[in-house]
Structure formats: C-alpha cells, structure tokens
C-alpha cells in the first residue's frame, strides 16, 4: 500500500489525500469510448452508403460475419485495456497532505512514476491557476508550490479539484507547524 511506502514519521498524520478532478477522468474516458465506437459508426456509414449506392460492393464486408465480429471484439478489448490504463494514470496521481509535508506523486504512464515531497516549513509560495470555461465552472485547476532551500524546487499538478481550498489547507497546515515550532522554541529558551 502507498501509505506504508511513503513512511510517515513519528506524530505525522495524513490530513488529506487529493486526486485529480473527476472531469479529468471523465473526459479521457469519453475519448476512449468514442474511439471504441468508431467501427460501429463506420458500419453505420457503410450501410448508409450501400443504401444510396447499391453497386458499391461494400456489402462484401457483411459476408465476413465471424471475422468482423472477431475484429470488433479485439478492438473493444484493446480499448478496454486503454480505459484501465487511463484510470490507473488518474488513480495513481495523488497529493498527500500531512501535518509535516506534502507528497506529490505523478504517474506518467506505467513505468514512469515521479514522487516528490516538500516539508511544510520549506514552502515559500503557492500559486493556483484556473483556466478555461469548464475548469471555472467545475472548479478545478493547476496548483504550483515553490519551496526554498539549497535548490529551489517547484511542484506542479494540473486538474486538481478546488485549488483554493487545497491552497488554504496547505497554508493552514504550514502555519500550524510554524506556530508549533515557535511554541516549542519559546518553551526551551
């Protein structure tokens, strides 16, 4: 399981686990389904052409019923595999916000997985971008987090739901951690 793999430190708790907006998965799923249905549209098109041009010899296709069914089933299977590929890509892209850090997991295909994390005290700036009509209507967008340190790093993910709320959550967690350190520092001084 993922949670065991990211190895939470002592007193570290997961505040929120964030996946991309459902519309990202929906739009990709619709694309795959549309491609899967292309042969059906083609057959309907052939039938329409055949009705207008009886001498077109297109009806020869229908005499290969078994072969056509095999190819259709093969096409559907390939698209079914692609559908789960798309879902895997969606499901494994996660932002994990804990009370100490943010872990950003970006699944880019099946054998390309990028995992980055930054501690909340290193968070320097957070930007959100909601671009386009659908993104504005459904409230999803891109979040960009810049961190300070030896090498300035940038964490960027597109298609996250309610980016303002995520930003507020992370900033609040960072403030809480800072206050905790201040209190701890004052007590020991």
């Amino acid at each position: 399981m993922l949670v065991e793999k990211i190895k939470l430190t002592e007193n570290e708790q997961i505040i929120k686990l964030i996946r991309k907006h459902w519309f990202i998965l929906f739009s990709r799923t619709v694309s795959v389904i549309f491609i899967a249905l292309l042969p059906i549209f083609a057959l309907i098109g052939f039938a329409a052409v055949e009705s207008y041009l009886p001498d077109s010899k297109l009806s020869a296709i229908y005499s290969y019923g078994a072969e056509m069914t095999f190819l259709l089933a093969l096409w559907v299977l390939l698209n079914w595999m692609m559908l789960f590929h798309v879902w895997t890509d969606y499901y494994l892209d996660v932002w994990i916000v804990t009370n100490r850090r943010v872990v950003v997991i970006d699944q880019r295909g099946l054998f390309n997985r990028v995992i980055g994390s930054f501690r909340l005290e290193r968070l320097q700036d957070m930007n959100i971008e909601i671009k386009g009509l659908i993104a504005t209507a459904l409230n999803y967008g891109t979040i960009e987090a810049q961190t300070a340190g030896g090498s300035e790093e940038e964490f960027r993910t597109a298609g996250l739901p309610d980016p303002r709320a995520i930003k507020a959550l992370i900033v609040e967690a960072a403030d809480k951690l800072e206050n905790h350190y201040h209190v701890h520092h004052d007590a020991t001084a």
Binding site: L58, S63, F84, L92, V94
Partner: protein, 76 residues
C-alpha cells in the same frame, strides 16, 4: 475500405490462421498488461478494496471479449 474489399479475395484458411495468430499475440499482450496493471494497483493503491474491484471488473470485461473472439475463431 478498399483493402477490406480486396480481402474478400483472400483464402478463408489464411484469414483464419492470421486471426488465430492475432488471438495468441493479444492473449500474451493482455497477460503482460494485466500483470503490470495489477502490480501498480496493489503496490501503489491507497486502500485494498479499490484494486480488488478494479481487477475483477477488468478481468470480467476482458473475459467477455476473449470469449467472443474464441467463439468466432471456432466458427471459422
């Protein structure tokens, strides 16, 4: 479209052999793809139930396609 019409001149025995070969190749590709997907789901999922449901759905849907393909091959 033209190539499909030209294919009507192809001997049915050869067509059947090609489709059998395609069936075996896609079976291997499917098995490899399933193992890779299953590994990703079970290794990186945030809970145990989702990958189980996903795997069951994936296998049931694929089984239907394979049954249709195997059925049509037996008719050739």
């Amino acid at each position: 479209m033209v190539s499909m019409i030209e294919a009507s001149a192809m001997p049915s025995e050869l067509t059947s052999q090609i489709l059998h070969l395609v069936f075996y190749v896609i079976t291997l590709v499917f098995l490899f793809h399933s193992v890779v997907l299953g590994f990703h789901w079970f290794a990186y999922s945030t809970n145990k139930r989702t990958p189980m449901v996903a795997l069951a759905t994936y296998l049931i849907g694929s089984a239907v396609c394979f049954m249709v393909m195997a059925g049509t091959l037996s008719l050739m």
